[in-house]
């Protein structure tokens, strides 16, 4: 990874870190980001359904998966939101869940609005 590579502070994904994890393979990074688009949306929807059923175990499992995948793509703010939700679900503190879900959705919107797939290319060329 070239040392001059930089990621804007406001970026919801640390592109430099993602590319490092993909060992500089830009095609892989783009493929992964394309998967993020579909999987995160599906995970969040699944999380909402699990909340509707007040199923804390299921919620914790989904939030855990989201935490793992977001950490792998270096979406650290989303990772923190997912970790908080996992913790709430494990403690069965579902009262605080709507606020956390709102936060998670907000973070997810930031990622979507950042047009994440071209991010990898921009990071590579920076």
């Amino acid at each position: 990874m070239s040392p001059e590579l930089s990621t804007p502070e406001s970026s919801p994904i640390d592109v430099r870190e993602l590319l490092e994890r993909c060992m500089g393979n830009i095609e892989l990074a783009e493929r992964v980001l394309a998967k993020v688009e579909s999987q995160f949306e599906a995970d969040i929807a699944e999380l909402e359904r699990a909340y509707a059923q007040r199923n804390g175990t299921l919620m914790a499992g989904i939030a855990h998966r989201l935490k793992g995948s977001s950490s792998n793509v270096a979406a650290h703010d989303l990772q923190r939101c997912a970790a908080e939700i996992e913790e709430l679900a494990r403690r069965e503190s579902l009262v605080e869940f709507p606020a956390q879900l709102e936060k998670l959705r907000g973070e997810w919107s930031r990622i979507k609005n950042a047009s994440i797939v071209p991010l990898a290319a921009s990071g590579k060329n920076a």
Binding site: R21, C22, V32, H64
Partner: protein, 353 residues
């Protein structure tokens, strides 16, 4: 080298598989622990990288299942998970994982941990060398066929059965069974020191010749004791020494070389004694034809409490069908059972009762 990845998150799996391929591994990805265990049972994988949270069978259960099986090769397992913290590391390692890596990880860190795994797996060449040494010693004996292969299976069957009894539950664990399987083929290694005119004599030995033959226990025992002295931490050497020295001792104290009795004879020696005799009885020798299982069984039962440890004889009776299945497989089939428990079970189902 093949690596099996068990990961239910498609994003993490994609990144991991690509990293591993870049490192030169041949990668297979499955998305739950149950499928992972099925793949492991094929015997094609010795290195596994598994997530913790997965549907059906999670990573911890997968670790336990892998460690509970009595397969022929060690499986090196790295748990890769978002569950951080010392407590989770301890839980993971206690369940049988060899290493633990927290997401997000750096590819280079994963690479060095995989290399550690490869080094550990390469130690299994030690096991192969031990068996090769035993086969070399056996090669002088002309009519033993797959004696070593059968005998170690019989030892494993007996030890596994005993490990499930109250008396031996805290004595025999998975490691003990593996060590017994590994070292029992060395029981007769001292025969390399027995002259041809005695070892290869067709027919009964004279009293003097029998005295010479009996020395194989001491020759083997002394050799292994010297090796154990150089490496006292190596449990397999001390067990191998026990077995070589004591597999001709008798429970009533009339055996050789030292006339040990009862539980003064190490358990590994008491188990090996029965396994060795059963195989000798059921095999052709220059001085006798192979006896049937029923005849051999009767002889062993007659030796309960005199020649053999009653507990070991009782274990033999409880799992005689497994003995029959192992004998059939290792006379007609391959020299090693890839998945012994499964293959014996299948053979049992196929066998007439």
């Amino acid at each position: 080298m093949r690596v099996l990845v068990a990961e239910d998150d498609a994003i993490s799996a994609e990144i991991l598989a690509n990293i591993l391929e870049k490192f030169g591994y041949e990668v297979t990805v499955v998305n739950d622990g149950q499928k992972a265990f099925e793949m492991i049972r094929t015997g094609r994988y010795r290195m596994v990288v598994s997530d913790w949270e997965m549907p059906n069978t999670n990573g911890l259960e997968l670790c336990r299942q892998i460690r509970a099986r009595q397969g022929s090769g060690y499986i090196y397992l790295i748990l890769l998970t978002s569950h951080g913290g010392v407590n989770n590391v301890v839980r993971g390692l206690n369940a049988g994982a060899d290493d633990f890596l927290t997401k997000p990880y750096q590819p280079e860190e994963l690479r060095v941990r995989l290399r550690t795994g490869e080094r550990i797996l390469s130690l299994e060449s030690r096991d192969i060398m031990i068996f090769a040494l035993a086969k070399l010693a056996e090669a002088r004996d002309q009519d033993t066929g797959l004696h070593l292969e059968r005998m170690r299976e019989y030892c494993r069957i007996l030890a596994t059965d005993l490990s499930e009894t109250e008396k031996y539950r805290d004595v025999i664990d998975g490691e003990y069974i593996q060590l017994l399987y590994l070292t029992s083929p060395l029981h007769d290694i001292g025969k390399v020191g027995v002259p041809d005119n005695v070892l290869l004599k067709p027919g009964r030995l004279t009293k003097e010749e029998f005295e010479i033959m009996k020395r194989h226990t001491i020759i083997g025992g002394n050799t292994l004791q010297a090796a154990a002295g150089m490496n006292p931490e190596a449990k397999f050497l001390s067990m191998a020494w026990d077995i070589a020295m004591t597999h001709h001792e008798r429970y009533d104290g009339t055996g050789y070389p030292r006339g040990l009795a009862g539980e003064a004879i190490p358990l590994s020696g008491r188990i090996t004694a029965l396994a060795d005799v059963y195989d000798a009885l059921t095999s052709d020798r220059v001085y006798k034809p192979a006896y049937s299982h029923e005849t051999s069984r009767a002889i062993i039962l007659e030796g309960r409490g005199t020649q053999f440890d009653p507990d070991v004889v009782d274990a033999f009776v409880r799992c005689e069908n497994l003995f029959l299945a192992a004998r059939r497989l290792l006379v007609e089939g391959s020299a090693e059972l890839e998945n012994p428990a499964d293959e014996l079970e299948e053979a049992l189902l196929a066998s007439p009762t």
